[in-house]
């Protein structure tokens, strides 16, 4: 069947099999930040934005994404850069395997809740599993990032 969609701002058209998963489609287009983790819709490693909303690409048929807009971390580089660098500098994670999925969902969180509480962060990121950090590092990193952003805004406002 024929698929037409927008992937990271580029229109793509191709023939796909009806059971091709969105995860496999985006990886075939070089979006290797999207990883196959649990494949049971639990770990959040395969998070992509579908029409701006975070979804698990391991659980969406590519066919269903036809006619829609898909973004991966590769397409959100600018938006992700500041946060990703900050988290790395904070030493908030260990192996970094979960990082792309976590950043994608964090971007979705910041878009939906520009000033989230600790509880909102915990709840929003509950679908992103990390097997080494115990989440405390990431939570601390995020709270520090939000404080840094606020400070930056205040300084900007004062100028």
């Amino acid at each position: 069947m024929k698929l037409q969609m927008e992937l990271n701002g580029k229109k793509i058209t191709e023939e796909i099999s009806p059971d091709l998963l969105l995860l496999d489609l985006v990886r075939s287009h070089g979006c290797y930040s999207v990883k196959r983790g649990c494949e049971t819709s639990n770990c959040g490693l395969c998070t992509v934005m579908l029409d701006g909303k975070p979804v698990l690409s391991c659980s969406v048929l590519a066919a269903r994404a036809s006619g829609h807009r898909v973004e991966t971390l590769e397409g959100l580089e600018e938006e992700a850069k500041e946060f990703g660098t900050f988290i790395a500098n904070q030493g908030a994670e260990q192996c970094g395997f979960c990082n792309p999925g976590m950043i994608m969902n964090a971007i979705a969180l910041f878009r939906e809740y520009p000033d989230p509480t600790e509880e909102e962060i915990r709840e929003y990121l509950a679908g992103n599993l990390c097997r080494c950090s115990g989440y405390e590092g990431q939570l601390r990193g995020m709270l520090n990032f939000l404080a840094y952003k606020k400070e930056k805004q205040t300084e900007g406002g004062a100028v």
């Binding site: 059971d19 659980s59 269903r64 929003y124 509950a126 679908g127």
Partner: protein, 294 residues
């Protein structure tokens, strides 16, 4: 592994229904379907039919079958009406990315034992609209066998209700060990318990009917005041009696005895919260009245 031979984005419910009669399979969020080892001849996608909205009228909420759990969680009107029960019932289901895919129709049509969503909706005055079968009470639908009809939407009537939703999980985001929704309304008080691990059942709660009368804001002051006659001993006894009527069994998450114990605890907690909220609201109302008189 899920294999799909043909994928059809339905252009009408009639087309979807016709395809579904011949080896078709209606796709909801596809999250449970994907976990199985199955070959689907024709996957029928309803996502292009505009069935992903929640609409509110004076009398009811209409929830399209393709509405995501995330939309249910965030809908202000529905959650104001349900006292936050809908949000509470879905907020621990995996993560936001999952809930942006899972659909209300998929959860309800599947009549899954583990379904938080089915448990919650059963506590309200809820109905399903089937494409061929028409409108029927959700309780009747939940007890019926799966067939080849299409669940088009859910209807939640704005019947006065106070509902508390609780669940117990061994670990966050996992399937529930037990789900429990208790509601007070014109029907008196009822408890819905799911993940027993079988599908949710509705059981009337005896001995605390005054809570139902109070919720309905009956003009008969005696009935409204009846909320003050309820006490913790009555709640404890009612929760015990109700839990005893609910059959449970064991699986890898918990044994039958543990589930029965949990059922008692969760029903008691839910009843207590309903009672306290009703008392609080009544006291607040009386306070306001006193203030005006002064």
């Amino acid at each position: 592994m899920l294999k799909i031979r043909e994928y059809v984005k339905a252009e009408s419910l009639e087309q979807a229904y016709a395809l579904n009669q011949k080896n078709g399979c209606i796709l909801g969020g596809m999250l449970w379907l994907k976990m199985g080892n199955r070959t689907v001849q024709t996957a029928i996608d309803l996502s292009g039919l505009g069935l992903d909205e929640i609409t509110e009228t004076e009398e009811e909420f209409s929830i399209g079958c393709m509405t995501t759990l995330r939309r249910l969680e965030l809908h202000e009107g529905l959650n104001r009406f349900g006292g936050g029960a809908f949000r509470e019932s879905v907020r621990t289901i995996v993560g936001v990315q999952f809930r942006n895919l899972a659909t209300v129709g998929g959860s309800i049509f599947g009549r899954y034992g583990f379904s938080d969503v089915l448990t919650c909706f059963l506590a309200f005055d809820s109905y399903v609209e089937l494409y061929k079968g028409g409108v029927m009470p959700l309780e009747e639908f939940a007890a019926s066998k799966r067939d080849k009809d299409i669940l088009v939407r859910l209807i939640v009537k704005k019947t006065p209700v106070r509902c508390v939703y609780l669940s117990h999980r061994n670990t966050k985001t996992d399937f529930p060990v037990l789900t429990c929704a208790v509601s007070a309304g014109p029907w008196g008080v009822r408890a819905v318990v799911g993940a027993r691990p079988q599908r949710a059942v509705c059981v009337p709660v005896k001995g605390v009917d005054a809570l139902g009368a109070a919720v309905c804001q009956n003009t008969d002051a005696a009935e409204v005041n009846a909320v003050n006659t309820v006490n913790t001993a009555q709640i404890e006894a009612a929760a015990r009696e109700t839990a005893d009527k609910i059959p449970t069994s064991g699986n890898m998450r918990a044994g039958a005895a543990y589930r029965s114990h949990l059922a008692h605890v969760l029903i008691r907690r839910a009843l207590t919260r309903i009672w306290e909220e009703e008392k609080g609201e009544k006291e607040e109302a009386e306070g306001r009245k006193g203030g005006w008189q002064a």
